[in-house]
Symmetry: C2
Subunit: 235 residues, 2 copies
């Protein structure tokens, strides 16, 4: 069985657009597909866009901008959107709902002149909404997120619906008949990472990946992907 | 353009086996494929396997075992293989060559009764060796590794050859003509994650994924994937 991943080219998304309808206009679905959707188009459709000329940075934002070499107006938005947990020259690492990422997930790419895109407010709910309207196995809303111990960003799940994000193989036997103990795999993040391989970069505008042929055995599990603070020994 | 990922079923690998030959016996290659190979079969072919009855744990290993609830013999191997950086009830986090993972990457799964598999000593070199013998675009040696802020393990690159691990889109224009600034993506880790979606779990024995149709534009970069200690604000 092979997995196939295809990038869907969409028109530029504007505030008020119906993402599900636009996706359905591009292709038909059979019910077994997994859709991975770049969070940026959800933010755009929802009008989660701010023009920086409308942002008036406060004292705290100005200090943060000085420490981090960033635009004070972006810093103002970062403070509003998240908790800043580490600051350095050229970086601000933030936390919100146990999701740790750079700059509160605020993005200048593909936002239009002078604008920034804020991350979707309720990504799980957005995934549910799309799943209801498109006949597929599951929906993932993704973002490219950096990692503490490894360079470069990778596609990561920030919201999901219709699929179990983890697979556990506990109790299955290995090649030699030994029962597996604790392997838990975050398939949702692996699907989001694989989608990044087909997303069009820059102006290519392929913000949706359709994954066909994925079916996981083992014992799927539900739950939150982000570790709580007390489960993470590196925070 | 779609990406296709296929799992190759191999026979059980034993010490002294020629991995490249065994892979070539399974299928033909056209030169454009990327191969992702589970590190465990490299370790097996290289005889990187230890029977725990032959391990005599020292005092430090015994203390580590008590703190972490783990087998003292496994702890002895962990100490030999890596630097222990965090210990807790049921976990030991280790570092070697800036790679941070659990238990020094030592694995009981598919190792045979009483055995553990040690990670390959020089994974980049192993990838080079296979690339020389198989007509493909690139080779990745992968492992499933946990993440500090997210639950579950994901497929990750521990060695590579023939491909650039990072893509940078600096200078490309976005949908609105704005030049992209700093997005660097770790495509090697995204490829390793996608391969995990087809690897056979438990006794399925599909330790090799063949990725077809992947071609990345932008500006590919070379370099080490692991952050140096002074680049990581969470260590």
């Amino acid at each position: 069985m092979a997995i196939q991943i295809t990038g869907l080219k969409l028109p530029i998304i504007n505030e008020g657009d119906e993402i599900s309808q636009i996706i359905k206009d591009e292709r038909e679905f059979e019910g077994s597909e997994i859709l991975v959707i770049a969070h940026s188009i959800i933010s755009k459709a929802n009008g989660q866009r701010t023009n920086l000329k409308d942002v008036d940075p406060g004292e705290r934002a100005k200090k943060l901008a000085k420490k981090s070499n960033k635009d004070p107006r972006v810093c103002e938005l970062i403070i509003k959107e998240s908790n800043v947990i580490k600051i350095g020259k050229d970086f601000i690492i933030t936390e919100k709902n146990n999701r740790i990422c750079a700059n509160a997930g605020i993005d200048k790419s593909n936002a239009g002149k002078g604008n920034v895109l804020l991350p979707p407010k309720k990504p799980n709910q957005e995934a549910e909404k799309i799943l209801k309207e498109i006949d597929c196995q599951g929906v993932i809303i993704s973002d490219s997120i950096g990692r503490p111990f490894r360079k470069g960003a990778v596609g990561t799940t920030i919201g999901y619906a219709g699929l179990k994000p983890f697979s556990s193989y506990k109790g299955l036997e290995d090649l030699y008949g030994r029962k597996l103990e604790t392997t838990v795999e975050c398939v949702a993040d692996e699907l989001a990472a694989s989608a990044n391989l087909v997303f069009g970069e820059a102006s290519k505008s392929k913000p949706v990946a359709v994954i066909e042929g994925f079916k996981r055995e083992g014992e799927p599990r539900d739950g939150k992907i982000e570790r709580e603070k007390n489960q993470s020994v590196f925070r």
